[in-house]
């Protein structure tokens, strides 16, 4: 339990990180550093996107699986690390 907190704190302290959200496989946000409205929005939208991306990768090659998803936009970058049951979403503003 404490290690999880520590990990999240470490991530939060990195340069440019705007927010962290952990959602479970049903799209329910478990832990978040953003406000409720944004969290719910991110959770709903990203959950669908990750499902789609994962199914795409597996359709092309059933042995393959999605390991990481990065969405780079004009203002920031959304990084999603999917697992079997949980997703870790980090929104970062790359400082360059």
């Amino acid at each position: 339990m404490a290690e999880v907190e520590e990990t999240l704190k470490r991530i939060q302290s990195q340069n440019g990180v705007q927010g962290i959200i952990i959602i479970n496989s049903e799209g329910i946000p478990i832990k978040t550093t953003l406000d409720n409205a944004s969290t719910v929005q991110y959770a709903g939208l990203i959950h669908q996107l990750v499902m789609k991306a994962r199914s795409t990768v597996r359709d092309i090659d059933p042995q393959n699986d999605l390991t990481f998803l990065r969405i780079r936009s004009k203002k920031n970058e959304i990084m999603i690390a999917p697992d079997k049951d949980y997703f870790l979403i980090v929104i970062q503003n790359p400082s360059d």
Partner: protein, 597 residues
């Protein structure tokens, strides 16, 4: 020697018959039982000819020699290409409201306590802890990577491949906006939204004399270019609009000139009805063909032109009366009887005091707004067209040169040369209805014609013919407008269709040295015209001095500014004098003859 198996039809049939009689081809060999399993002893044998079927020359008479040629064979189905137009699919985009979902049945997500309890429970789960730790490390790696290096940066920015191979100029139709009413009207005016150009305002009216029927709708529309199915906003004037313009400073206000001469002002936030309409007594008495916004501190000034010969200035905050009035009289007397009907207007914001009017009579009148007396308002006229000057625009890069379109030609003029245009196209097959310069390339302009063709002219590349000629539709095209970025062009047709085209990058990106080359070309042509003008003047001067001399022998009469009646009287007198002298001459001859006899 051809070793080809020329099977005649009969032999093929015989093979088939043996097979079908159930006789399988079987080979039987015997082997001692003890020899089963023994290794195979292979030995070399020389090649043995088994079968040799010589060519039967007698069969050659049944075949003819064909000329050698390549022939491809393919054993497959015959296919043909066929295009089908699908039915129009009307789609509408709307937003979806996400509600929280996915919570298990026993948790009511409205209740904070239950959700917190659920979350705490999940956090205690072991698999949760493990997966988060693992995901955390992966994520950290990527975050650090982002901070260290921009993995998406363009590393080879400086070595941009220069476009050596110029793609041929082309244009692609993106969308067609059709008049949603049953009775189609002509698209007579187009205007792009000033901010980015995602909206297009189109004015619809029927310009044919007395062809407007009672059922024709009066509306004009603003279209969102992404949605051709339905106009975004419809504008409802009292009389159909002939021209429509967005205010370049304020993207919500529009002003339109209508068929009955009134001006109307809309605010697109306020809805379809005009905010204000000018009063009928003080408006034009003919359709308002062109209306332009002026550059002013208040940003509310416009001026309009109509075939009743007037150019009126308006302040849109108070449309009950025009702020200023100008009558286009070439004799500078302000006489409305002799005024020329105005069909097009041009105003360049870099020259705020001057403006130009194209008339129905083929003259282009250049006027000065700030002149003190009305007589000085009309500065000069340019006479070049045999028909109405339907479009008039200054070159945005070279404001001293302007483009006019009328009769069957398009002409480019220089302000200094008043006698004729410096460059002109040859006579086209059909009437040109509208033209405009490209806002990004100084040497490119576009014209639309009555046979539905959109022409793109690049005068640095080719002057005799358009660089690109596209048939947009079957009916006549009446209006044309380019978006400020130079890539999108909208043209409106007689049947109410506004077509949106995208031009290839070759015609919409500024080329190297284009400005200087074009400046040189304009200078050269201007110089040529100046020389011609000077020569003409010389010839005229000589003639005049010659005729003056001869008249001073006759009796010394000035012939400057003679009215037609006076000229006729003088011609009569000359005629009588001439006949008298002839008669006298004849009489003298007769006398001489008779005296000789």
């Amino acid at each position: 020697m051809t070793a080809s198996l020329v099977l005649t039809v009969e032999s093929v049939l015989s093979i088939v018959s043996t097979l079908s009689s159930g006789m399988e081809i079987v080979h039987v060999y015997t082997k001692l039982h003890s020899e089963f399993g023994r290794q195979c002893l292979f030995s070399d044998r020389p090649a043995e000819l088994l079968v040799d079927v010589p060519a039967d020359q007698s069969l050659a008479s049944q075949f003819t020699q064909r000329t050698r040629r390549d022939q491809s064979l393919q054993a497959s189905r015959d296919m043909s290409e066929h295009r089908v137009n699908t039915k129009r699919f009307e789609s509408e985009s709307c937003g979806l409201n996400h509600e929280e979902g996915g919570w298990p049945k026993d948790v009511n997500h409205q209740v904070m306590e239950q959700t917190i309890r659920f979350r705490k429970k999940v956090e205690k789960d072991e698999s949760y802890i493990n997966s988060i730790l693992q995901l955390g490390s992966v994520m950290e790696h990527c975050i650090r990577q982002n901070n260290a290096v921009d993995i998406y940066q363009d590393c080879f920015e400086d070595g941009e491949m220069p476009e050596e191979h110029q793609e041929p100029p082309s244009a692609k139709t993106i969308n067609v906006f059709r008049d949603p009413n049953e009775l189609k009207r002509t698209v007579t005016g187009l205007s792009w939204h000033p901010d980015g150009g995602e909206k297009l305002a189109a004015a619809y009216s029927c310009l044919e004399f007395q062809k407007t029927s009672r059922d024709m709708s009066l509306d004009s529309y603003i279209w969102d270019i992404e949605n051709p199915n339905r106009p975004e906003l419809s504008l409802k004037p009292a009389s159909p609009l002939v021209c429509l313009e967005y205010n370049p400073k304020d993207c919500h206000s529009l002003v339109g000139g209508s068929y009955n001469g009134q001006i109307a002002y809309w605010d697109s936030r306020r809805g379809s009805q005009p905010v204000e309409t000018s009063s009928v007594e003080h408006s034009h008495r003919d359709p308002v063909y062109k209306i332009i916004w002026l550059q002013s501190k208040t940003g509310t000034d416009t001026f309009s032109a109509s075939t009743d010969g007037q150019v009126l200035w308006w302040d849109v905050r108070k449309l009950s009366e025009p702020t200023e009035r100008l009558v286009l009289d070439p004799s500078r007397e302000g006489n409305p009887e002799r005024a020329l009907g105005a069909i097009s207007l041009d105003f360049e914001s870099t020259m705020p005091t001057k403006f130009m009017v194209g008339t129905e009579q083929g003259l282009v009148v250049s006027c000065n707004r700030k002149a003190k007396t009305p007589t000085e308002k009309v500065v000069c006229t340019y006479d070049g067209h045999q028909g109405p000057v339907y479009a008039l625009q200054r070159n945005p890069f070279f404001p001293k040169n302007f483009l006019t379109v009328g009769d069957w030609t398009a002409r480019i003029w220089s302000e200094d040369i008043k006698e004729s245009s410096i460059m002109w196209t040859k006579y086209q097959m059909s009437y040109l209805m509208d033209a405009c310069w490209s806002p990004v390339r100084p040497s490119v302009f576009f014209t639309v014609k009555m046979d539905g063709v959109l022409d793109m002219w690049d005068i640095l590349f080719k002057q005799n013919d358009p660089t690109l000629s596209l048939k947009v539709c079957d009916e006549a095209l009446y209006s044309l407008r380019l978006q400020d970025n130079g890539r999108l062009v909208a043209c409106g047709s007689q049947q109410g269709e506004a077509t949106l085209l995208e031009i290839s990058s070759g015609l919409s990106t500024l080329q190297k040295n284009e400005k200087s080359l074009l400046a040189a070309m304009f200078e050269r042509e201007t110089k040529r015209e100046k020389i011609l003008e000077a020569r003409q003047r010389e010839i005229r001067l000589k003639e005049r001095s010659r005729s003056e001399q001869s008249r001073s022998e006759d009796g010394g009469r000035e012939d400057i500014d003679q009215s037609p009646l006076q000229l006729m009287a003088r011609a009569e007198e000359d005629f009588y004098v001439l006949t008298e002298t002839e008669k006298k001459g004849k009489e003298r001859e007769d006398q001489d003859l008779s005296s000789e006899l």
